[in-house]
């Protein structure tokens, strides 16, 4: 997911060419307080005109407690991007209130309530505490994300490359997402010159369950894709597992072995996930 400042026309119009799976047009932290109106109008004009190719297009609006949040929703919701990303989400009640406002805007424009989804950003200690409510109670919330910089600020700690201060939050957020069967996106890696650090952090995020990672510079996309794309060996192995599973299932056998290793339902599920990532089907 590539963050693009909402007040930068050059970056918006080029946003689709870098191969990111998702584009985030940012009206929040990337926009100066006295340019919120300019960014909102620019994003509103650009979002359905610019070709972002196959990327999912999301807009991060300002929080409703600011003077900008409601104006953002009034401008962006009628355009129905793939998702609205809501910052500093702290409770299920807050999500309910946000969805009520979104649906009122959709009603005024004759729009359905089931097209555009909501990504909730968890960026405060309170949000981390309430994350399961946020992730599980609303059909329209189809992803949650962690905002590392704001979270460390809220916790009065310094963000360190090893991510020690936010490790508990990361794992709690991942678990809430997994329990709710929704996506979970890791925070940005702020040092664009540290490619090894980015790779290490992305590998860690993948290992603990994040389904993707946000980036602030197109240079970071390739490394993240490299980490998240299954290797040829992983795909071959997954293919063999799923194929054998189908053969054995047809014969009424639930558990079987490949090369002496037991294959049961969880391993098949993981293999199917790898094949989905690789866009491979077993005939």
């Amino acid at each position: 997911m590539l963050y693009i400042p909402g007040n930068n026309p050059a970056m918006i119009q080029q946003g689709g060419v870098y191969g990111a799976d998702s584009i985030l047009l940012d009206l929040e932290d990337a926009v100066a307080l006295n340019q919120k109106d300019a960014a909102r109008t620019l994003v509103r004009n650009m979002i359905n005109v610019i070709d972002f190719y196959d990327a999912e297009v999301c807009v991060r609006v300002n929080h409703l407690s600011t003077p900008f949040g409601l104006a953002d929703l009034e401008a962006i919701v009628p355009l129905q991007p793939s998702a609205i990303r809501y910052p500093k989400t702290e409770s299920g009640e807050e999500v309910a209130e946000l969805l009520k406002i979104i649906e009122q805007i959709e009603d005024r424009h004759g729009l359905p309530h089931n097209k555009m989804t909501l990504h909730a950003m968890i960026e405060t200690a309170m949000g981390v505490q309430n994350v399961f409510d946020i992730a599980s109670k609303f059909d329209r919330v189809d992803a949650i994300t962690i905002g590392g910089q704001d979270l460390t600020a809220d916790m009065n700690i310094v963000y360190t490359p090893d991510g020690a201060g936010i490790d508990f939050a990361r794992k709690r957020i991942v678990m809430a997402a997994k329990a709710s069967h929704i996506d979970v996106i890791d925070t940005v890696f702020p040092d664009v010159n540290d490619e090894e650090g980015l790779r290490r952090e992305t590998e860690y995020a993948k290992r603990i369950g994040f389904t993707g990672k946000a980036v602030i510079n197109p240079r970071q996309i390739e490394i993240i894709h490299d980490v998240y794309t299954p290797t040829d060996e992983e795909v071959r192995k997954a293919y063999r597992i799923v194929k054998e599973f189908k053969i054995n299932s047809a014969a009424g056998i639930g558990v079987f072995a490949i090369d002496g290793k037991m294959i049961d339902a969880p391993i098949v599920t993981r293999a199917e996930y790898i094949l989905r990532l690789a866009n491979v089907t077993v005939g």
């Binding site: 930068n8 050059a10 300019a38 909102r40 620019l42 509103r44 005109v49 900008f68 409601l70 953002d72």
Partner: protein
């Protein structure tokens, strides 16, 4: 209609356009100063968009300076709308 106050929007960056707007005395008409790095190729289109937008907002007594660095039409229209609303003191959801 005329601007209430002087206002600006946009930047001098590539693919952007900057508008500066100020009120003129009543019945003095429009004064437009338009320049673009792509004037030779797209100047006619740029001028057309500005005149259309001025007509849309019924702006008469206005001094408008536009410096374009190759902005696309949606950018030109967004920057123009922002400048006009700021000049009418109508902008919502921002800090002045």
């Amino acid at each position: 209609m005329k601007p209430k106050i002087a206002a600006q929007s946009g930047t001098f960056e590539s693919s952007d356009v900057i508008f500066l707007i100020e009120p003129r005395p009543d019945n003095s008409g429009r004064k437009l100063e338009i320049s673009s790095t792509v004037m030779q190729q797209f100047g006619a289109n740029f001028n057309r968009i500005i005149v259309e937008m001025l007509d849309q907002y019924d702006m008469t007594d206005i001094h408008l300076i536009a410096k374009d660095k190759g902005a696309l039409e949606p950018t030109i229209k967004a920057r123009f709308e922002t400048a006009i609303k700021r000049s009418l003191d109508e902008q919502e959801g921002t800090l002045k």
